[in-house]
Amino acid sequence: MPDSSGSKLPALLSRYQDRILTDWIAAQSDVGVLRADLMREAEIRRQSRSFLTHLTAATKNGVNFDIESDQWQDVRDMLTEVTNYRVDHGFTPTETATFILALKQPIFECLRDQYKDDPQTLVDEAWSATVLLDKLGLYTNDIYLRGREDIIQRQQQEMLELSTPVVQLWDRIVALPLIGTLDSSRAQIVMENLLEAVVESKAEIVIIDITGVPTVDTLVAQHLLKTAAAAKLMGAECIISGIRPQIAQTIVHLGVELPQVATKADLQSAFAHALKRTGVTFTGH
């Protein structure tokens, strides 16, 4: 790591501010990260200027390479804002990081003009600038990923909440149509929802319909059995319906047994069975 105390970078930044800004925006255009289709040039100009101002302020009292320190607070806030703006407008992570990395070229050119006769200083300063800008570029990458992860997590949560509706089919009969893959966290939510529904609707028969479940492995089968056993303890009977021929074969192959749970091929036969069990009969047509 170069010696930061005698860095010439701060002086250079304030001296050539306008030139660096113009060259920087041109450089962004050259490497194709300007994306005029995604954001207006006025906005790019504003963000670029704002970043340069903050960078100059942050390096005013010497260059500190620890960008997590207090001195860099404003730059970090600024980068977070810029990155989030770009995430919202459909930029890729590379395009976002290149926004910062494109700044190298104008800075190097200013350094060359200033220190053409002093190769030692020129290399040192170029190295400091590289280290600094790389760190800031990677920082935008982190922010970008964190933003993506937040979105994924939120969607996951929303899907969990959406995916376990309990439907009242008849007096004392409820159904729980399951769609999608059952993993353990979802199976847990399914179990809790179902048992709560049993209490609320005073259901005697619960039909778990797994028509929309693509695969059933031993773990899922075990969860279904646990759910059935828990419902039984509360005084309700479980029927599993919608077992596809393929899944029936898998269950037999896996050696899973489904004792004390009635299984039906489709929801219709499960419902008919449930009506019979609760003593409902129909007359007429």
């Binding site: 048992l195 049993v198 005073k202 646990k226 828990a230 303890l233 509360m234 005084g235 309700a236």
Partner: protein, 133 residues
């Protein structure tokens, strides 16, 4: 607890030929042992046909209580009374299943009404079977 009831004892009520007991307090191990003895005595004395155990007020059921409930049910069956456990909460049911206890041979119902219905239906089926034989 009212003064005329003995402390640490769960009262047993008789309704027709059914015995009803509701567990309203946190069960200690000794209480359920006492309950087991009391209940066996009462079934023998009253010739009860059914026993309803309401556990809707219970938040926690451990493996010991689970086993004792199964025992009580087995004892009652020998004395020719069928036991129905009613009002188990979802959390309790999940815990018992996770503990691997499915209370084999114990009948369950959602509430006292349904439990009573179950006992009556059971008695009627029994009568029909005897009649046929």
């Amino acid at each position: 607890m009212t003064h005329f009831l003995e402390p640490n004892r769960i009262p047993i009520f008789q309704i027709g030929d059914c015995l009803l007991l509701t567990i309203q307090v946190d069960l200690e191990d000794r209480m359920i042992m006492t309950l087991k003895d009391d209940l066996a005595e009462r079934i023998a004395k009253t010739h009860a046909k059914g026993v309803l155990i309401d556990i809707s007020a219970l938040d926690v059921v451990d493996s010991f209580i689970g086993r004792m409930l199964a025992n009580i049910s087995a004892i009652a069956r020998i004395l020719d009374a069928s036991t129905v456990i009613v009002g188990m909460r979802p959390a309790v049911a999940i815990t018992l299943v996770e503990l691997g206890m499915s209370l084999q041979g114990v009948r369950t119902a959602l509430d006292v009404d349904r439990g009573m219905e179950l006992i009556r239906r059971g008695a009627a089926e029994e009568a029909a079977r005897l009649h046929e034989a």
